[in-house]
Symmetry: C2
Amino acid sequence: MDDSPKGTRDLSTRDTILAAAEKLFVERGFAATSVSRIAQEAKVTKSLIHHYFGSKEQLWHEVKNSRLIEYFEIQRRELAVTEPDVQCLMDAVTRYFNLFRDNPQLARLISWHIIESEKDAHGDERELTLLGIEKLRDGQKEGHLRSDVDPRYILISFFCLVTHWFQAKHEYLKWLGMDPKSAKADEDYLQALLKVFFEGVLPR
Amino acid sequence: MDDSPKGTRDLSTRDTILAAAEKLFVERGFAATSVSRIAQEAKVTKSLIHHYFGSKEQLWHEVKNSRLIEYFEIQRRELAVTEPDVQCLMDAVTRYFNLFRDNPQLARLISWHIIESEKDAHGDERELTLLGIEKLRDGQKEGHLRSDVDPRYILISFFCLVTHWFQAKHEYLKWLGMDPKSAKADEDYLQALLKVFFEGVLPR
DNA sequence: ATGTTGATTGGCCGACCGGTCAATCATTAG
DNA sequence: CTAATGATTGACCGGTCGGCCAATCAACAT
């Protein structure tokens, strides 16, 4: 039978709590979310949350880890089929961008993870990053990418261009007087991102 | 004489509180920081904080606004002396980058501001952004910048490249197994940023 | 039927939260 | 000297926090 470590066979209630917790944590962050509020959202008692997850911290880690591991898994698969030629890289960038576009909680989860900067090291992250850098290095060796920039910083600048857009677009679009919920903005920004990242803002 | 609205002539204590509040808010964000903790940090009583600032929210806004207004002012001055030619733009990018490098609280303050996404609109932000876009448009008209990318998204992608670096570098450097406190990393990233932003990652 | 096990509840705890208030202290003006 | 004013304190408020616990409930194995 199912022999999960703590003996929780019924997953539906547990998942209900997990979903409620994710919603609130993603919305307000760890500190601003109370266990009782999560209980209310999941329509269970506070005690039940402690029964399943032990503590608020553990629940938060459970929420984060489940999402992040899922995200790493997707990335790993994506990376495996990516060849270091230009078209393939542009497709990979687009898929990465769309992953965030289609999972808005992901960007916020990462935001909270980064800003609250906890010590938990994932290993997954590191492995995945090194894999990406290797791919970029291949691209450089084959002449698809310029070789006078450290591939580590190429990768980071790419992360910046995608991650920060989804973290802050509501703010920037507000500054520009544009509709913060417009799907058009995502599409337009992606096109600009591809041009800037691959070709730069100087005329060729 | 000094006739500040609430009649607080002694600024030193007030500033002590402000500094303590900034330190803790920047470190942990609004929700995770308690008034008593700020009082302890500033070595005053909790009551005194309410005496000077009314409420925790008002203190938070005071902290944020004072810093952000200062930052906007610097930016406005920078922008005024920036010509839209390539060398001048690269200098402006570098100065903008160094502003964040030398004021680490600024990036975190903006992080908290963005992720806790409050409704307060600064006006300053909008005006400044439009000014920057105008400058970029000039650069396009004079042929210094490519004209097939919306200057609004050029500006945003630039914000992403700088802001997110300072928000997340500790995380990324950890992934790469590099020293998160290294000043060298800032310098190296800036060089990479300039190359990528202006010329792109494709060979020329 | 009975005991076992885990799901679920409501009540309770001490700690801390943000905030108020009346009482002091220090300074200075009249 | 005294009145006034603001700075500063400590005690206190109601409320919420995260967490604990004993009791019940439902399902199932014996």
